[in-house]
């Protein structure tokens, strides 16, 4: 149960000033410097990731290894890492001779952004060109792959490549919906009346957690309901003024307060972790769970006693979501051409289709090759979102400490110790302080 998207933006100005000429290794390579057909005879490619063995990514990437070994003649030394280990030691490992040739790493300013600004990641512009990856990635997916010299995402060089996507949606218990005669809501008011119907039958409709990320993402989703793309850009990349007392934030805070008061969300959310909230949906306690695509595989294998489905949050063009984690090539990697080759194989139709058929969200799959109703539904929803440029990233990304601050403030909103206005004032102040640390 790790902290979700540790979106720690804070790049010290001092750090940023020092990095001007630091990202060296990759920058000097011209397009012709990339060998797209490298020979790996006698070489070993070290590969790290922290996806579980049975996750869609784990399955797909594992399948890429023999293909790569056959094509290049190199051996792959694969090591499964823990999220926590990469999280707390990445900068140390990448600065040592134990650095792998290619590894999975978290997207975001505080992770890939920070390491790129300190010169630990290879600039992949040339590899992008040589392999033509850019055309596979929609613009919102590219956002998290490029970082400027301060390590802020959205512009600058490519320092990684996302291999899959993720987004947040509504999971619902089809059996419960049927039992109370509720159809899948398509507007916000239908959604609210569905909540009311459940409540009137004594059922708490939403499974929520404010100890960890779920309630924060619901709050952000509510704010996104009427928000514009520009609003998201201002909030996430500090390009414009952000007013926490604007209509969108106010609507979101009031709605959370209202739903708690009406019993749509239990006050127990304050003592519930994300895993517990997922469990409560999984065992049928609550019929609705608003959370991310990362639960998909768990629910497919774990829910056997009822039918379930998903839909995008009604009445909103935007939804929390982004590219998945990135493939990055450390500056100290010893076999960079082989690393690019391996990445390219994971971007191939064959591997991407396998990922899609295993419950993941590939970025470059062949739609016709995806089988299974559940897999199709997931990918179709994701495509709907990206087509309307609807990935709005996550609420905690702007500053390094915002994740905890959002949860802390929401807990006070839920238990009634703060009014929506106080709640927004608190978060607004913390947002401003955090952003100031980054932009100086």
């Amino acid at each position: 149960m790790r902290k979700r998207h540790i979106a720690l933006g804070a790049i010290l100005v001092t750090g940023a000033l020092l990095l001007a000429g630091c990202s060296s290794a990759g920058t000097n390579k011209s397009t012709s410097g990339i060998d797209t057909n490298p020979s790996g005879k006698g070489k070993t490619l070290t590969l790290w990731d922290y996806e579980g063995d049975t996750s869609a990514m784990g399955i797909a990437w594992k399948a890429a290894i023999p293909i790569f070994e056959k094509e290049t003649g190199a051996k792959v030394k694969f090591e499964a890492k823990s999220f926590e280990q990469i999280q707390s030691t990445a900068s140390q490992v990448l600065n040592s001779n134990s650095a792998p040739d290619v590894m999975e790493y978290n997207k975001g300013n505080a992770t890939a952004g920070l390491l790129s600004s300190e010169g630990l990641l290879t600039n992949m512009n040339a590899a992008y060109k040589a392999y033509g990856w850019q055309k596979d990635l929609s613009s919102s997916l590219q956002t998290t792959a490029r970082y400027n010299t301060k390590g802020v995402m959205g512009s600058g060089n490519f320092y990684g490549i996302p291999n899959y996507g993720e987004f947040v949606m509504v999971y619902y218990n089809q059996d419960s919906f049927k039992k109370y005669g509720i159809s899948v809501p398509t507007t916000f008011s239908q959604f609210e009346s569905a909540l009311a119907t459940f409540k009137s039958h004594g059922i708490t409709p939403l499974s929520e957690s404010s100890v960890e990320y779920p309630l924060g993402q619901l709050w952000y989703q509510l704010a996104l309901s009427h928000a514009t793309r520009q609003w998201v850009t201002n909030y996430q990349t500090y390009t414009g003024k952000v007013n926490f007392h604007d209509a969108d934030f106010t609507f979101a805070a009031n709605t959370i307060k209202d739903w708690v008061a009406k019993g749509y969300i239990s006050k127990n959310a304050n003592g519930t972790k994300a895993q517990d909230a997922g469990d409560a949906f999984q065992n049928g306690t609550n019929p609705i769970f608003y959370s991310g695509s990362w639960w998909y595989g768990t629910f497919i294998s774990g829910i056997k006693t009822f039918k379930w489905g998903t839909f995008l949050f009604p009445g909103s063009n935007l939804a929390p979501g982004s590219s998945g984690n990135l493939w990055v090539v450390p500056t100290k990697a010893k076999n960079k051409d082989l690393a690019y080759k391996f990445i390219d194989i994971t971007m191939s139709k064959k591997i991407q289709n396998l990922m899609g058929n295993s419950g993941g969200i590939p970025v470059a799959a062949d739609a016709s090759a995806i089988t299974g109703a559940k897999n199709k539904e997931l990918i179709a929803n994701f495509n709907t979102l990206t087509k309307r440029d609807g990935l709005a990233f996550y609420p905690d990304w702007p500053t390094s400490t915002f994740y905890d601050q959002i949860n802390t403030a929401l807990q006070k909103l839920v238990d009634g110790s703060e009014t929506p206005t106080q709640f927004l004032t608190e978060l607004g102040g913390e947002y401003a302080t955090g952003v100031k640390q980054i932009t100086g």
Partner: protein, 321 residues
Amino acid sequence: MATTPLMTSRRRVVRAPEESLLPHTGNRGFWLYLIPGLVLVTFIVVVPLVWNIYLSFTSWRGILPPVWIGFANWIQLFGDSEFWESFANSVAMIVAMVIVPTVLGLLVAAVLFDLIGKKFGGRVASFLRATYYLPQLLPVAVAAVVIGWILRPENGALNTVLGGIGLKSLEHDWLGDPSTALLSIMFVMVWVQIGYPVVIFMAALQRVDPELYEAAELDGAGWFQRFRSITINIIRPEIFVVTLTCTIAALKVFGPVFTLTRGGPGNATIVPSYYSYNEFFNAQQVGYGATIATALTVVIVLLTIGFIKAQNRVEQSERSN
């Protein structure tokens, strides 16, 4: 055990405290024996500590050279109200990890050793001791998952049991309600810690001479009286050791808080180490992390020195009595 010649030999030590216990040798060459230990502790602890003190005056993200920023981190720390609030919770942690386990541990050890061990056999006592020690063997991250299952509000084991025995009104969001979150964590910490004093104290109780007890019994002393005047006296050194090591652990506590509540709800369960860890590894603000860690170290070291001095004083007055 507590024979007269031994007592006199101890008194002699008090009179000439700087003398080696080995006769006719003085205490000069003994420094040689400290060399391996001192070399190791210098490299592994002192150098990093000094390095941290230096880092607390810099801004550093771990890779590029640190930038000297003078007292900025320290000024920020002193104005950081949450940091100071977190020390209040440290007091709660001391209650939960030092005072309660030590007192309970003494009682449990005495009961297991004196009553259970003597009347129901050593096997029963050994088995129970192993049971009490179990939580000490469990990695914190796993412990947190299980404790979460027990305390969670919906379908948690505790609430289910309360509901089952007709105490539905007592069902509660144990970790989510600010009024009970800290208490719940404290309860968990007692559970984690209790085995350590029990094991140490039971080992120490081996030294209590049964004849001493019998003599006191003949004098008409009750169990508790004997416990107070004989047992506590004899195992006092272990009580000091347990108290000091647990106090250090309580001030440094991090894992259970981080994994169970992340300091919430609100700031109800926040502790100082939470800050430093977060700054080091999540925010990667190594300079500020080092400042918090240094402040924490200073507090702990001062407490340790005070504690050891007090311990010396008590032991000395004990010896001169």
